[in-house]
């Protein structure tokens, strides 16, 4: 029997992630999603295929997810990021009952039961509870985004950030710098502020242990620690938090193919041609 390969494409607001798997992950690629890159999910897929030493015709099924899932014209199916994150976490961290995903443009809480999402909350209205908050404030402070988490842990006396708006918070931190407040104390305060907002949102779900943290926010040690302090217990982290959605998408593709085979339902697939999205041209 011919081997089956499944691809998951997670087109997020900041990063595009592609995973190719059969029984295990064969290749994964994480690339940026910018205004130009947004239509180039096909390029990221090509990189993943090269890493997996496969061609696109070898892929049995492609599922796209994420904010820009509709911009993946070569996907066989689009599935919401809630379902994909749930499936990914259920596979990687089966003991998790709650997922907190902190993305570049939104954040969400997902409640899991028997490996599937049964409830969720989302913040897509306000940047203050998303990765964007740290991006904007890091820029204001002249600090690299990837250094923010580490620096926050060096705080001696974290400050309170009063502004609930990202733009005003960015101004507030510059003012605090001018007042002579140590940079690390300000950064710790920013992490505290974003953790508080996320915790408040996810609190709408009954948070059940264990809690898995995914998305770019999970790669920020300062944010992980700030959220753990709010929750009162440690969180679980997948090996690569950015890939959870793409892994879930690939796994859901596998589930779809299996179900179709078991029930003898014909599988609807797109022509195996890697094209870029035309929405932006």
């Amino acid at each position: 029997m011919k081997s089956q390969y499944f691809a998951g494409v997670d087109l997020g607001s900041t990063m595009t992630k592609v995973v190719i798997m059969n029984q295990a992950i064969l290749a994964s690629v994480i690339g940026p999603t910018g205004p130009e890159h947004r239509k180039l999910a096909n390029k990221v897929m090509e990189q993943a295929l090269a890493k997996a030493k496969l061609s696109f015709v070898d892929i049995t099924y492609v599922v796209a997810t994420g904010y820009g899932r509709i911009n993946v014209p070569f996907a066989d199916k689009q599935i919401t990021e809630i379902s994909c994150h749930a499936r990914g976490v259920a596979c990687l961290l089966p003991e998790a009952r709650t997922v907190i995903d902190i993305g570049g443009q939104d954040s969400k809480g997902i409640k899991l039961k028997e490996g599937r999402a049964v409830d969720f909350v989302m913040n897509d209205k306000c940047a203050a509870g998303t990765g964007r908050f740290l991006e904007v404030t890091a820029e204001g402070l002249g600090v690299k985004l990837e250094d923010m988490g580490r620096l926050s842990l060096q705080a001696k006396n974290k400050v309170e950030i009063g502004s609930t708006c990202t733009v005003f918070a960015a101004q507030e931190v510059v003012a605090k710098l001018a007042e002579g407040v140590p940079l690390t104390d300000i950064i710790a305060g920013l992490h505290e502020a974003i953790a508080a907002r996320i915790y408040s949102m996810v609190g709408r779900l009954k948070i059940e242990k264990e809690v898995a943290l995914t998305g770019g926010g999970a790669k920020n040690i300062g944010l992980v620690k700030a959220l753990e302090a709010k929750l009162g217990f440690p969180v679980l982290l997948p090996p690569e938090p950015l890939l959870t959605g793409a892994i879930g998408a690939a796994l859901l593709g596998k589930d779809i193919v299996r179900e179709a085979e078991e029930k003898g339902i014909p599988l609807v697939r797109r022509e195996r041609r890697l094209t870029e999205a035309t929405l932006f041209t």
Partner: protein, 444 residues
């Protein structure tokens, strides 16, 4: 002037709901006509129990919340909101009030209707009848603020309380006091209207209208109960139309006749097994919150995913009179009758709540609907500018899940009028995710 995208028209499931647009337009234009004919016009709020009183006195209501909602639905509210902003009203106030105040400020400054005012505009009133009750605090202050622009128009602020819910006492111990209080408030309203409009109360007509209202309440309740059918013949999208005769036309024969027609239409659809959509997969309750009037096509989007709303709590502001624990027909004084109906409506779910430890009337109502209408999931809308109806929705949801069962839920976020709070792509992404969770729960 802010240019807003012309709204896509929502598809209705029932013929009756499709008639509402022209009916409401005629209502609004009818106020201007009545004013031109010398009739007295009152600014009025919905669900204030004074429908029969003003109609018996031949005073024409200008429903200011309705007009703001119409501006929102026509995506023509921003210019009035901006006007209110320029008057330094906070953006965090009720956007119905902001829209109305912005409109009034502009109309009074011009001495005529603002250009291209939707459906001819909101007519300057002769009196303004505020009433916050326990429900909505802006309604106590809105008309007082409107007096900044219309100092010659008097305001009467009617207080219509009801006994608060406590699980360790029976509200019947104090209900008589509330009824007496409300009757006095309504008497004061009649005196105020007689003094400031010159109209005299026609007490015989008031009694007739009280009786008509009772019959209309029963008919509405019976009609909406028909939506229990599987497939359900009518959804909340349509109910956001059919709320017009409920809250803006109560105590009129036209409202009664409308529901008679809708009742017959729903029975016909049920007999033909004709649902709101051909393939009903998920049955949802609109469990709280006023709708985003500019985004009613979201209901069609739910439909496209196989989801229907056989029931909602919003604007279902009636119960069957014959289900009350008193016989209202024996209360012949019309003001007392109105007061008892008011108290019995707001306390309707109290007894049920007391039977379930830790529950609350608002949650019991949801539970009853979930059971009766075979509901799979609950959708609520948090309108950022409406504290009154929206504070506590999350609490209700959490309590429901605690005392009843864990049911998939979706919270939509935007506003009633302010379209800048709305993002169609994000809203629909949430709906997609919610449909996924419904499917996951169903297939477990």
């Amino acid at each position: 002037m802010t240019q807003e995208k012309k709204p896509e028209k929502r598809r209705t499931a029932t013929e009756a709901a499709a008639k509402i647009g022209p009916m409401q337009k005629a209502n609004i234009q009818g106020v201007a006509q009545a004013k031109a004919e010398g009739k007295k016009v009152a600014y009025a709020f919905i669900a204030c129990a004074y429908d029969e009183i003003i109609r018996a006195m031949d005073i024409v209501p200008m429903w200011t919340e309705a007009y703001a909602g119409i501006c929102g639905a026509k995506r023509d509210a921003q210019r009035f909101l901006e006007r209110a902003g320029a008057e330094n009203f906070s953006r965090s106030l009720c956007t119905y009030a902001l829209c109305g105040l912005g409109f009034d400020a502009w109309r009074e400054e011009l001495g005529e209707m603002p250009p291209d005012a939707p459906w001819g505009g909101q007519v300057k009133p002769d009196v303004m009848l505020g009433s916050g009750q326990l429900l909505c605090d802006p309604r106590n202050k809105w008309y007082q603020a409107a007096q900044h622009y219309m100092p010659d128009v008097p305001v009467y602020d009617v207080g219509l309380p009801w006994p608060p819910y406590e699980d360790d006492y029976d509200y019947r111990e104090v209900q008589d006091y509330y009824v007496k209080y409300i009757v006095e408030e309504l008497k004061g309203l009649v005196q105020f209207l007689e003094k400031h409009t010159g109209s005299k109360m026609d007490w015989a007509r008031l009694s007739e209208l009280v009786d008509l209202t009772d019959r209309t309440w029963n008919l509405i309740w019976e009609t909406y109960e028909l939506r229990r059918a599987v497939p359900s013949p009518m959804g909340t999208g349509d109910a956001m139309n059919t709320m017009v005769p409920i809250v803006f036309m109560m105590a009129t024969q036209q409202a009664y006749d409308f529901f008679k027609e809708l009742n017959e239409e729903l029975k016909r659809k049920i007999a033909n097994k004709e649902g709101e959509i051909p393939d009903e997969k998920y049955r949802l309750i609109w469990g709280g919150g006023l709708p985003a009037w500019f985004a009613l096509t979201d209901f069609n989007y739910f439909n496209s995913k196989g989801a229907v709303f056989p029931v909602e709590t919003t604007y279902r502001v009636v119960e069957a009179i014959y289900n009350f624990d008193i016989d209202l027909s024996k209360i012949t004084d019309p003001l007392e009758h109105i007061a008892w109906r008011w108290v019995k409506f707001w306390t309707y779910w109290y007894d049920k709540a007391r039977k379930r430890p830790g529950s609350h009337p608002s949650v019991e109502r949801l539970i009853q609907y979930i059971e009766d209408y075979k509901i799979d999931g609950i959708v609520m809308h948090e309108a950022f500018s409406c504290r009154s109806w929206h504070v506590g929705l999350i609490w209700q949801l959490n309590l429901l899940k605690k005392v009843y069962k864990d049911i998939p839920s979706l919270i939509l976020e935007s506003d009633i009028v302010d379209i800048s709070s709305y993002n169609e792509a994000d809203t629909r992404a949430r709906i997609d995710a919610f449909i996924d969770t419904l499917e996951a729960v169903k297939s477990r």
